[in-house]
Subunit: 402 residues, 2 copies
Amino acid sequence: MDLEFTSKIVKKNDKKIVMLVMDGLGGHPIKEDGLTELETAKTPNLDKLAEKSICGLQVPVGNGITPGSGPGHLGLFGYNPIKYQVGRGVLAAMGIGFDLKAEDVAARGNFCTIDEEGKVLDRRAGRIPSEKNKELCKKLCENIDIPGVEVFIETVKEHRFLLVLRGEGLNGELIDTDPQVVGEKPLEPRFKNSAIGKTVDIVKEFLRQAKKILKNEKPANMVLLRGFSQKPNWPSFPEVFKLRSAAIAAYPMYRGLARLIGMDILQTGETVEEEFKTIEEKWNDYDFFFLHVKKTDSYGEDGNFDAKVSVIEKVDSLLPRLMNLNPDVVVVTGDHSTPSLLKSHSWHPVPVLIYSKQCRPDKVKRFGERECITGSIGPRLQAEDLMALAMANALKLEKFGA
Amino acid sequence: MDLEFTSKIVKKNDKKIVMLVMDGLGGHPIKEDGLTELETAKTPNLDKLAEKSICGLQVPVGNGITPGSGPGHLGLFGYNPIKYQVGRGVLAAMGIGFDLKAEDVAARGNFCTIDEEGKVLDRRAGRIPSEKNKELCKKLCENIDIPGVEVFIETVKEHRFLLVLRGEGLNGELIDTDPQVVGEKPLEPRFKNSAIGKTVDIVKEFLRQAKKILKNEKPANMVLLRGFSQKPNWPSFPEVFKLRSAAIAAYPMYRGLARLIGMDILQTGETVEEEFKTIEEKWNDYDFFFLHVKKTDSYGEDGNFDAKVSVIEKVDSLLPRLMNLNPDVVVVTGDHSTPSLLKSHSWHPVPVLIYSKQCRPDKVKRFGERECITGSIGPRLQAEDLMALAMANALKLEKFGA
């Protein structure tokens, strides 16, 4: 169901929904036993929950489409990821808590290394430490001067920073300057389409000054810019679903995404335990919790099958603490698959369960990719429909039509 | 498939399709055995049919959406329920066989009780008997006088009546006057949007006169109006599918819905037996029969699990009479779920089977919610597609493309 349709039939009640997202949850067999990471993991608590739930697999964007983290999560939150697209720059801003204004243009920057001819030697400048990054950002901030534009340069992590341009009449429809390969010069800023305006010249001037300021630095003597974008004007999640909504996520990116659609961001720690502690502490203050577990994806990207299994088992061991809070609806899923086999995000459907007292459980007794195929959710539900199902299970949707 | 697409490839033949709708068929476990109403019911005949059919579950409107009776049935008939929306007033008119003209404005009325200040004490006037309702409608008809407008006031049942305004340039886009809660005054008539015209003033005048005429009545001393609407201009079911189409339904609402899309309405009795007798009698006269069983829903709404089971068993016991007619295609399903657990319509997918000699049966041998999940129809078919499948199974659709 689309967001606009669902929003018209939402009603408030005091029931609570938890969406537990294990990033990159879906996997692939890699060993002789033919089991995926999730199928390998010992998950007695998830299995017990699956037995009382409806199970299935969901497709975050579309069949065959490998989602990035943004689209993957937007689908889970009920936003059609093709209709609601957001640039990397905006995401980066959200992720570090930068208060982006409506007309700001944001871009993700990389410190990089160029040679004397200006060709890129290392797109990440040897992944300089974040401390060095802060020092360089400070230097840029103090020296960049472009008339009529306020320029913000903020450290993200390692070689990554955020650039924000603030001024009147800016347009974020620019191509990336990152050539994506070494041995070539950064691309000249230009608009993606036929847009006109001063933003291209502003970015050119920024790059000219940055090159000058950084020229004696090693190894980070230049910057590359990607994902120019402006803050989208989207429906607010808490307003659409009439849910006091909180995000618990250790990583900036996911906090940024949640902030973008209007969720409150709760202070939490780096570990899954700390995230579960946060939900316990804030239980009475919200109707919806987005609880994000990052490491399933990180280990998948590393190709570390066993470590991904361990993270799933860790989450399973913490699940009783969540269930002790007596949530009315629990959704457990991922924002996409990240099979260790592929060391990357993938297009494979993602296991999902939805628990409530009135979910009409199916016959699935084990939370795993192949068991879920035979569940009531089906093998390829559009992720976009999950919020409607969660809301229905929380008895928060009015009947449609007489 | 949408109606417009399907309609272009329809061909006529002499095959007959029966759509047997058990209203609110889908259920939910309530007892320790974990079985739904349908799973509990002894249904040897439906099971035998399921074995020769394709099985699955269908979603009447969308995932998570709880359908009203109107949208639930429109989906079954191939009309996208979000695209084809109809007001309560029009449905009420259809339900009592009122011959609504194109420009008429219809509303559903409730007799209600108000106090001396005009605040609503009882929105249903103690559910007055239908006889009393008829008396009051007669009194209103005889005394209401609004220049330039013909006013029809017809008893529906108990406290419910139908109001139809006939005249030139009327507009049905009015809000309900029913405040939905007691202790408040009825709402003043006004347009929903920026529409202009005389209809608001006509309704105000109607209410002014009705209040005066009813002022000494007890307990029904006022009326509330809901669901102002006008007859929609939709494609006709018999024309789209080239089917001589008949509806057999004991309840007015479902006859009204069928009439709205152009089906013939067959005289029948109050019981399921009488409905089956009607189909036997009229077998030669039609190519498509919509046979509606109401009580599965009624008992679901009452929370009476066992009685709902009994109705399903009753239908099962009558099924051989239908099969003896040798129908070419049989569809058995519901317009939505009505689990006794929830005592209301719900969002849960609805079991469905489609039988024909060329349906390519799956492995499902039992007609029940969980068995159907693994059937060829899948766990979440859009109801809108059922008519295309029924038509295909009746060999009534041409090949698409060369």
